[in-house]
């Protein structure tokens, strides 16, 4: 009986092109776009700035060695990894930058030293220092070149004294990334994974839930269902099942979306190198899963789909029309967005076990842990249990509403 009720609601959903697109296409397109497109865009932007020859204004003259270093391309294995800049004479460095004629401008009020030991002089660098474009482009390049110039002069001087380059750095630091390999791969956008998964569970279940509750009222089909010899509990279970199935379908396609973007990213990173690719790798929210991780993820998604579906149905049955239900349900997105925002800073929070007992939020943290390869089975089970208890309570609430005249015949 439960399945018959569910099949009826599912068939209706399946015939609805728009809902189908929202359930299947949206996660498949939106997720790779967000988790891949964003880092790729940033990576290729920064890479582009590295490759571009920006104009840098110069007031007066510069030491020849510094000029050459600024103009020179940096080569590695026959490839230009960083283009030099084009130096153009300007009179007012500040104005030249503001007008956009040059990306940066340099001015040495006093002659610059050409050898170490000649004292120190200031080089003024004009640029829009907080702009990412300047930092990745002209401003960053000037700073790098000056650093290297200083180092070259110092090394020359040390050599004259019979000392090697190691004199400058008696102690060097070598950092080794000790985060698990999965965490390294998951990148800074990893928090997007639990957020988008739950978001798609919500948006995937929404249409079916409203259609099966307020929609039935609006169309005048609820009454005929309630006069059939099906128990109220079966009606509610059937509707819950249908909603959970569409919600889970959406969640599965969102996982597929992540796996696709992980695959594409792997291919992309193999064919490219340099700073741009590094940034893409560091930012990207990519998913690579073990079998256990996949199962845990499915369990979390299914239990989250169940509690969200129960919530949707409990709310949907109160509404008199599709529209009214939508206005009640729209704010639910916040229930997912707000925890996701917190999740971004999960590194700074010391999470106690109690967090995992919070329905939905516990699942989000657990999914993030799985993505980072740092999940603990007990925490995952706790999170699933919390969802199931929440789902049971909300289902009882929905069942009560289905039995109440004031709710069914609200006018």
């Amino acid at each position: 009986m439960v399945w018959r009720i569910a099949a009826r609601d599912l068939l209706s959903t399946l015939r609805d092109r728009r809902t189908l697109a929202a359930t299947i296409l949206m996660p498949l397109i939106l997720i790779p776009a967000l988790s891949l497109g964003l880092p790729l865009l940033l990576g290729s932007f920064i890479g582009g700035q590295q490759q571009e020859r920006q104009k840098v204004g110069v007031v007066g003259t510069l030491p020849l060695a510094l000029r050459t270093a600024l103009e020179q391309d940096e080569q590695q294995g026959g490839q230009t990894v960083r283009a030099g800049v084009t130096l153009v004479p300007v009179t007012d460095p500040g104005k030249a930058v503001q007008s956009g004629d040059v990306e940066a401008a340099i001015q040495a009020p006093a002659p610059l030293p050409t050898r170490a030991g000649q004292g120190s002089a200031e080089l003024e660098v004009y640029a829009k220092t907080s702009s990412l474009r300047a930092q990745a482009g002209a401003y960053g390049k000037v700073q790098d070149v000056v650093d290297r110039y200083n180092r070259t002069l110092t090394l020359d001087r040390l050599k004259g004294l019979g000392l090697g380059a190691d004199t400058l750095t008696p102690v060097t630091v070598k950092s080794i990334d000790a985060s698990p390999p999965q965490e390294q791969r998951s990148g800074q956008l990893a928090f997007l994974i639990p957020f988008l998964m739950l978001q798609f569970i919500l948006s995937g279940g929404m249409a079916t839930a409203i259609d099966a509750t307020a929609g039935e009222k609006e169309r005048g089909t609820l009454e005929s269902l309630l006069v059939s010899p099906v128990r109220r509990a079966e009606v509610v279970s059937g509707k819950l099942l249908a909603t959970t199935i569409t919600a889970l379908t959406s969640a599965c396609f969102s996982v597929a979306g992540f796996l696709i973007s992980g695959l594409v990213a792997a291919i992309f990173l193999k064919t490219r190198s340099g700073l741009g690719a590094d940034i893409t790798g560091a930012m990207g929210g990519q998913l690579s899963l073990t079998l256990g991780g996949t199962l845990a993820l499915l369990g979390l998604a299914a239990s989250a789909a169940l509690i969200i579906s129960a919530l949707l149905i409990a709310i949907g049955i109160y509404a008199r029309s599709f529209k009214e239900a939508q206005t009640y349900i729209a704010p639910l997105t916040l229930v997912i967005v707000l925890p996701a925002v917190m999740l971004q800073f999960a590194d700074f929070l010391t999470l106690s076990t109690a967090v995992y007992a919070a329905p939905l939020f516990g699942s989000m943290v657990s999914i993030l842990n799985i993505v980072k390869g740092a999940a603990q089975p007990s925490q995952i089970l706790l999170a699933i249990l919390a969802n199931l208890i929440g789902a049971a309570l909300l289902s009882l609430l929905a069942l009560r509403s289905f039995g109440r005249e004031e709710v069914i015949f609200r006018n």
């Binding site: 018959r4 068939l11 209706s12 169309r219 059939s228 015949f409």
Partner: protein, 250 residues
């Protein structure tokens, strides 16, 4: 002679919505083999009474039994035996008529063969034709109402509750409906027919009850009501009874 069975037994039923009393102690009974009319102006309480009989609403006090089962104590038995149609009922827009009928047959526990045989029967009786394979979202009012009726009687219930079932229908669809109702006047069956349209009641109802502001003004065979009021037709008799009821209430 076999004894006729009482299909409907309502005893002193009241129903309040918050402070408002929609039914004020209604008692009625009807045997099998009748089409029983429920007449009354807007807000009289017809829909409320019929929903109580369909177990959708609980009476505030009093008892009601349908096909021998108490609506409060055995609601599932009652639901197994009633088919309900009201003017506001619709169909799932993205399903075809046939799919709706099959899905409901499943809810009543009918098997495939029973279902298909019953659909063929209803197809003939209600002249459904190609309507069955069109999605309900594309139905005209008449097509929709016919499928709604077919859905309500898919399990061939002994008790049929029709609440303003003919509203909005053109003369062809109305004719089909009235003929269908007349065919239910048979042993072991009872049809409750609520309407505003007196000519419909005159044509199909064996007996009628006139309800006004939650109270029964009269119950009886149409010729008896005409004789009792001294009026020539049911519409005039209706007015005379309703006015009389209002005067008594003052």
């Amino acid at each position: 002679m076999t004894q006729t069975q009482t299909m409907l037994d309502i005893h002193n039923v009241t129903k309040t919505y918050g402070k408002f009393t929609a039914l004020k102690g209604v008692s009625l009974s009807a045997p099998e083999g009748e089409v029983f009319g429920l007449l009354g102006p807007n807000g009289a309480g017809k829909t409320t009474l019929l929903r109580i009989l369909a177990t959708l609403l609980r009476p505030t006090s009093g008892t009601a039994a349908v096909a021998g089962y108490d609506v409060l104590r055995r609601p599932e038995e009652v639901r197994r035996r009633v088919g309900v149609v009201n003017g506001g009922m619709g169909l799932p827009a993205r399903l075809t008529g046939r799919e709706v009928l099959r899905s409901f047959a499943g809810l009543y526990g009918m098997n495939r063969a029973q279902t298909e045989a019953r659909i063929a029967e209803l197809d003939a009786g209600l002249e459904l034709g190609r309507t069955l394979d069109v999605r309900a979202g594309d139905y005209s009012t008449g097509m929709k109402q016919k499928v709604v009726i077919a859905r309500a009687v898919i399990q061939d219930p002994p008790v049929l509750i029709l609440d303003e079932a003919a509203s909005g229908l053109d003369i062809f669809a109305r004719r089909t409906l009235l003929d269908f109702v007349l065919a239910t006047r048979a042993p072991g069956r009872l049809t409750l027919y609520s309407t505003h349209v007196m000519s419909e009641a005159e044509e199909v109802c064996d007996r009628v009850a006139i309800l006004h502001e939650g109270q029964l003004l009269t119950v009886g065979r149409i010729p008896d009501i005409l004789a009792q009021t001294g009026e020539g037709n049911l519409e005039r008799a209706f007015f005379s009874l309703v006015r009389g009821g209002e005067q008594r209430a003052v």
